[in-house]
């Protein structure tokens, strides 16, 4: 559906041929700062990690300072309790631990007089099959892209997130998938990365991280993409799985990485 949207935009620009863009000044209201919580637990031996920051006014710069004085704990439904300690730049970390697939994790954050909580169930891992680079002929030139292959399990609803690293630099593009159209089938998912001043090129080393995420987190990223693309007539904040009025998400996910050299 996304390509269709893009095409519609292209078409309307083609048609008008006289369209123009300019930077304008708008007086935007300042909102009282809100907490932003972003955090995750993986199936790898690494620290549980949460970052807490605050929103800023639109006219401010993009340096988002960490919030230091929060009390952060994570519990699971097997009775474990971990306290996460402040490190730097808003990050709170536990000792390195493996998150167990299938368990429900609950995050609790207390900061100043506010409390926030969120739960996420780590899905069972769906193994990545292969990752390979391929060409796609479209829009008048050759586009390099990466494909990931995996077998979607038929027995449950599955949700995925893919993170791209090009030459070891993480890319901001959010790519998610579900299995509504291909439950129980072999999947070949296209992963493209192409914008005005950056794209996948021949010779690049691309790492694909495949995450299995739960439904609420998937929903968060889908709505986050809508917020970022500003394609809706009435943009809204993404649907967070955190209660208590904070922005952001808490995800317990499995992760696997594969690297490929682009031919």
């Amino acid at each position: 559906m996304k390509q269709i949207k893009i095409f519609l935009i292209i078409a309307s620009v083609l048609l008008t041929a006289t369209s123009c863009q300019k930077v304008i000044q708008i007086d935007l209201n300042s909102a009282s700062p809100k907490y932003v919580i972003e955090g995750g637990i993986t199936n790898q031996l690494e620290a549980y990690q949460i970052r807490i920051t605050k929103t800023k006014n639109f006219s401010d710069d993009n340096n988002f300072n960490g919030v230091k004085n929060a009390f952060v704990t994570i519990t699971d439904n097997a009775g474990n309790l971990d306290t996460l300690n402040y490190t730097t730049n808003g990050y709170y970390k536990s000792i390195p631990k493996i998150g167990v697939e299938g368990r429900l994790f609950t995050l609790n954050v207390r900061v100043e007089n506010e409390t926030f909580s969120a739960s996420s169930q780590m899905p069972f891992l769906v193994p990545m099959d292969t990752v390979y680079g391929t060409n796609f002929l479209g829009f008048g030139d050759t586009i390099k892209r990466v494909k990931v292959k995996y077998l979607d399990p038929a027995s449950q609803e599955n949700y995925y997130r893919f993170v791209l690293y090009i030459n070891n630099n993480i890319k901001e593009k959010i790519i998610v998938g579900d299995d509504k159209l291909n439950n129980g089938l072999k999947v070949e998912k296209n992963l493209t990365y192409r914008n005005d001043d950056d794209k996948i090129k021949e010779g690049d080393s691309v790492t694909v991280e495949m995450q299995c995420i739960d439904k609420a987190v998937y929903n968060y990223f889908v709505t986050l993409n809508k917020t970022i693309s500003q394609s809706s007539a009435a943009p809204t904040n993404p649907v967070s799985n955190i209660s208590g009025g904070a922005l952001g998400y808490f995800s317990a996910y499995t992760t696997q990485k594969r690297k490929v050299k682009i031919p």
Partner: protein, 779 residues
């Protein structure tokens, strides 16, 4: 409260019927009023009795009139603006039939703007909230790319607002774009936009009459909340073969009409084709993308009628239009409407006129995507079959009744995804939706006293959801809680509604009047749209167990005054509208993959109020108008904006249009329009934060900001070339946005490309100055 309203209506009906019963010793004059040159029937022409002040009749939409009077000798005066008045002496001692041919008033054509309405129609007509659109006047208004357009022209009328530049949608008195009932020869048109909304589906060469009702709709209309735009195609010239056409920078058109039986019946075929893509390729813009790009539309209007005898006439009319947009074989989308109407006019007797219509309407879109290993098609359609029966009973000069029924069977095929080539995807099967919509209606145009005219009526409507299909119940989290399956033809649920309609005019004196109206409307076909611009793929969804019929109640009050022998018109009209069961997507809705679309929707209410001013000069070398609307439209939907009232997208506080047309000489006409309006209500960020390596904007309230105000001036000049015998032609030059105002189409927020630590707002504008030229001919 409600039963009281019904009582009130019933009393009115009794009054009307009572005066019918008292009629005695009377005879009827009836017939058809036509143009003597083309044979087109003259909608709205009036027949007045000179000897009896205030007694007369108007021709209906088929040119038929009927007038019942006590026996005696009378002089009939037949009038229509732009035509020479005609008088007829009659000796009424039996029922008589008189067909009248009016002669176009060519002598004064250059000084008088031909209008389809009577000079003082605004003062005397009982109908409130009505605007007749003058097709000849439209042809003089400057337009984008020289493509004359009814939908663009009506947006210059107060109370009717543009949905935005490059958007054929319009908002009437705070209603959404899908709340307008757009009829082409009685067939509903589901998507009136061509080329993504830059043009409308109505070819003005084929249109005879267009009327829009902003409120107080007569009871024969129903099914949409906010307005009725009733467009009637020309019948075609029944006197001689005629050809007209035009060539412009992006389109060409040709219109052929002529007699089937000379002087009686006729046909008309009118076609258009745009070539925007060819022009674009020639301009060399867009580089590789433009090669292999397809972007055009075509449409065809056809109509024929046949007169069997004095009492029976049959009309066939059809419309077919398609838009195609594509890029090589990678991607394609095409969409369009097909409509067809078969009508049978039957004069039962000299007082009773019947029309039976069988109507078909279909809107489809189809998308092909071939970007990856899968070739995907998405197809969606909405198809209506309607049977409509209407009787008009011209009881006496003070009462004319209209009654009948309307039955529609809707089939809605949602955007079904189909995959060929490989089996990497198995899309869910979305079910077709079937429904049966019925209405009976009755209305009376009643001349209560010489000064008080009332149109009152009632529409009883029902909407039945039929099987086959699965229907859902939702829990409080909008998830499917239960599913019930129904077999083919089984009734799932029926909604009944009673819709009273009233419009009254009290004439204060010969120059001024007060009008008031009330109308309840319901709507069962809902367009769910959430993107910035309207898209051909926006979803039409019928009412279901969860989606209730939308209901609106509107009241209006207006003052109308004409000056200087009806040369100038002034009016002020205020309205208030309540809307129930309004629909919006919930945050993060994904309608394309959801089997139960209801899980993605939220429901609430709306209110709209405003006041409209119109000052118009109707005759003379210089004509035109100034229209101004001050209005507000709000919505309240649980789950949006914390459940508090918010300003709707279509809210534009101030809306001003100025139209001027100046006939310099017999050959030169100049015209200009200027519009100004407050920007749409929009949602802008009030802050920002970082998540998942993105700088994300933080939104606090729905529609809390305004787009910058829009204003624009368009000018055009029409020069008539030398006329030779029957051949005439003209060149029209127009400039859209003459002072190159950069009106905001959309404003987006982004990271400053030159400084990653900053964010900025970027405004996109579509059209700066767009000149165009077109050549039109006729013989």
């Amino acid at each position: 409260m409600f039963t009281k309203r019904v009582h009130f209506i019933l009393i009115f009906f009794f009054l009307g019927v009572f005066s019918v019963l008292t009629a005695q010793n009377k005879f009827t004059i009836s017939g058809t009023i036509k143009d003597n040159q083309t044979g087109e029937t003259m909608i709205g022409a009036t027949v007045r009795v000179v000897e009896l002040k205030g007694v007369g009749a108007a021709a209906n939409e088929y040119g038929f009139y009927s007038l019942t009077l006590p026996s005696g000798n009378y002089t009939l005066l037949v009038e229509l603006i732009g035509y020479k008045p005609q008088t007829k002496q009659i000796n009424l001692d039996k029922n008589i039939k008189i067909d009248i041919s009016l002669v176009e008033n060519t002598a004064t054509l250059n000084e008088v703007i031909v209008s389809a309405t009577k000079a003082d129609d605004k003062i005397t007509n009982a109908q409130a909230g009505i605007e007749k659109i003058d097709i000849k006047e439209i042809n003089k208004i400057p337009v984008l790319m020289g493509e004359r357009d009814i939908l663009k022209a009506i947006q210059l009328i107060p109370g009717i607002k543009s949905a935005g530049e490059g958007n054929a949608g319009f908002y009437v008195r705070g209603g959404a774009a899908d709340q307008n009932l757009i009829l082409l020869d009685e067939a509903p048109v589901y998507n009136a936009a061509h080329l993504l909304g830059f043009f409308s589906t109505f070819n003005s060469d084929a249109v005879k009459d267009a009327t829009i009702y902003k409120g107080g709709m007569p009871s024969q209309y129903g099914g949409r909340l906010s307005s009725v735009l009733d467009i009637k195609m020309k019948d075609g010239n029944n006197e001689r073969l005629g050809v007209s056409g035009g060539i412009g920078i992006i389109s060409a058109k040709l219109n052929v009409e002529g007699p089937i039986q000379k002087g009686k019946s006729s046909f008309l075929i009118s076609g258009r084709r745009t070539y925007a893509d060819a022009l674009f390729k020639a301009s060399g813009r867009g580089g590789a993308v433009s090669k292999g790009a397809q972007l055009f539309f075509y449409d065809l209007n056809m109509k024929a009628n046949y007169i069997f005898n004095d009492k029976n006439r049959v009309f066939l009319s059809g419309y077919f239009g398609r838009d195609k947009l594509g890029l090589k074989d990678l991607f394609g989308i095409n969409w369009g409407n097909t409509t067809g109407t078969v009508r049978w006019n039957h004069v039962i007797n000299d007082k009773m006129f019947s029309n039976t219509s069988l109507i078909y309407s279909d809107y489809i879109y189809k998308i092909n995507v071939n970007l990856s290993a899968d070739e995907i098609t998405i197809a969606s359609s909405i198809q209506d079959w309607t049977l409509k029966q209407e009787f008009q009973y011209f009881a006496n000069p003070n009462n004319s009744l209209r009654f009948g029924f309307n039955s529609t069977y809707h089939t809605v095929t949602p955007g079904q995804i189909e995959v060929s080539k490989t089996s990497l995807i198995v899309p869910p099967k979305l079910q077709d939706r079937f429904s049966f919509e019925n209405a009976v209606f009755l209305s009376n145009t009643w001349k209560a006293t010489e000064k008080l005219n009332i149109i009152y009526g009632l529409r009883l409507s029902s909407f039945s959801i039929l099987g086959k299909g699965d229907f859902y119940g939702l829990d409080s989290n909008h998830n499917v809680a239960d599913t019930s399956s129904y077999s083919s033809g089984e009734f799932v649920k029926t909604y009944f509604n009673i819709e009273p309609r009233l419009s009254a005019n009290y004439q204060l004196n010969s120059n001024s009047s007060i009008k008031t109206s009330y109308a309840r409307n319901t709507q069962n076909m809902h367009l769910i749209a959430n993107s910035i611009s309207s898209s051909p793929t926006d979803k039409w969804v019928p009412s279901s167990k969860i989606i209730k019929p939308e209901i609106s109640d509107q009241v209006s009050l207006g003052y109308f005054r004409n000056f200087l022998e009806n040369k100038f018109e002034f009016s002020v009209e205020g309205y208030y509208k309540w809307m129930q069961n309004q629909i919006d997507y919930k945050d993060g809705a994904d309608a394309n993959k959801s089997v139960a679309v209801e899980t993605e929707l939220l429901f609430g209410e709306g209110r709209a109020y405003g006041v409209e001013f119109l000052f118009k000069k109707k005759y003379g070398k210089f004509t035109g108008w100034v229209g101004y609307t001050l209005s507000r439209t709000e919505k309240q939907i649980d789950g949006i904006n914390k459940g508090e009232w918010y300003v709707a997208k279509q809210d534009k506080t101030h809306d001003l249009s100025i139209v001027g047309i100046y006939e310099i000489s017999k050959r030169w006409t100049l015209s200009a329009t200027w519009i100004y309006n407050t920007g749409n209500a929009v949602t802008f960020p009030s802050g920002k934060y970082n998540v998942a390596n993105n700088t994300v904007f933080y939104y606090t309230e729905r529609n809390g900001y305004r787009m910058p105000s829009n204003h624009r001036m368009d000018v055009s000049g029409t020069f008539k070339l030398k006329e030779r015998k029957r051949f005439s032609s003209e060149v029209a030059i127009s400039i859209y946005n003459v002072y190159a105002r950069e009106n905001a189409y959309v404003i987006t927020f982004q990271q400053d490309p030159n400084d990653a630590s900053k964010t900025q707002a970027v405004q996109t504008s579509l059209f700066r100055m767009v000149p165009s030229i077109s050549y039109n001919f006729k013989f």
